[in-house]
Symmetry: C2
Subunit: 209 residues, 2 copies
């Protein structure tokens, strides 16, 4: 089977091609499309005063910075660092919102290897403080989006250690997650799905009392 | 008077020295000491499960990135971008926390030029959503720290446009802000001051009803 990449061409081996269209082993721009969509939604929500949610900048380890006279500092050597938190956070209706955006080309399940231990730990810590935490998952080939509550994600993550599956079946995500609908403004209308997560979390909290 | 820098040496002029210890006209590491102290406090609060508050990475505009074979990507040309938000945010006791850290060497007042319009706008937007927002101000030569509520900061900022002062007198900050005490673990014990801001904001909200 020949896999055709978004530009409609098969990947060409070699240095130049690797830069322009990273092959299947590169994770550099995984989730880029979803990120762009979420960023546009966040811009809209910010402009309309509905929520203040931002993507955090990618952390960079600076090694060499030049300070030319009368012009801006130039980074000459730096490396990408692994973030210690999730990519997105902010505030909505008084609630602390925290999530990471992940895409998968799978059609039947979401592979847990998309997450790292430190992200799971971060989500668990925010959840403990009463935050609204989730994974924003896109099944790219199905064009389906879901908010999966962090509590469910963490349960599946932990189950791996005791022989659980390394992925979450789509059917499970359809049951425990909340679907995100496409709209016009914004295109990815995800705050109504967040409203459902808030209602659910408040319901769970009052049941515990 | 000879000013001795943290390494105990006077600054030496020249390119190499400029890199290691930027002179007094550089704004690159303004607030570095306060930032280091806050970061250490945040690490402690995270480790002890009291709060999840992080400094956001500095946004960088990438221009040239090399992808050497079999080794990590290297940034070869990049520039610092002005952040569109404040430096710190997170969650504490279910509350969204948002602040910026600013140092001044002044002894009698805090100059408002330490802030930029976009930071004021961001704090106002977060405040509208019900966040606990403030400026974490250090008077370095007095070794005094305060949390100044964002609502006060914004009021002073806006007053400038109609002939108000360009700085906030220390006496005013001592009245409207909350002092932060030095402790042992963590050294900058600022969550008790945040507790006071939360109580004050909740009181104001219930008075409005």
């Amino acid at each position: 089977m020949t896999i055709h990449y978004p530009n409609g061409q098969s990947p060409v081996p070699g240095q130049a091609a690797a830069k322009a269209t990273p092959g299947p082993t590169s994770f550099a721009d995984r989730g880029m499309t979803l990120e762009a969509e979420i960023n546009a939604s966040n811009d809209y929500y910010l402009a309309t005063g509905q929520a203040v949610i931002h993507k955090k900048p990618t952390p960079i380890q600076l090694v060499k910075v030049d300070y030319p006279k009368r012009s801006a500092a130039v980074v000459r050597e730096a490396y990408f660092r692994r973030p210690s938190t999730t990519d997105y956070n902010g505030i909505y209706r008084g609630y602390y919102i925290d999530f990471d955006a992940k895409e998968t080309r799978n059609k039947a399940s979401f592979p847990l290897k998309n997450f790292h231990q430190h992200q799971i730990d971060h989500l668990a810590a925010c959840l403990k403080q009463g935050g609204i935490c989730f994974a924003f998952i896109k099944f790219t080939r199905l064009d389906k989006h879901f908010l999966l509550p962090a509590s469910d994600l963490i349960a599946h993550w932990q189950a791996q250690a005791t022989g659980g599956k390394h992925s979450i079946p789509l059917a499970v995500i359809e049951q425990t997650g909340v679907p995100v609908a496409y709209g016009y403004h914004p295109r990815l209308k995800y705050l109504p799905a967040v409203d459902q997560l808030i209602a659910r979390q408040k319901g769970a909290a009052s049941n515990e009392q």
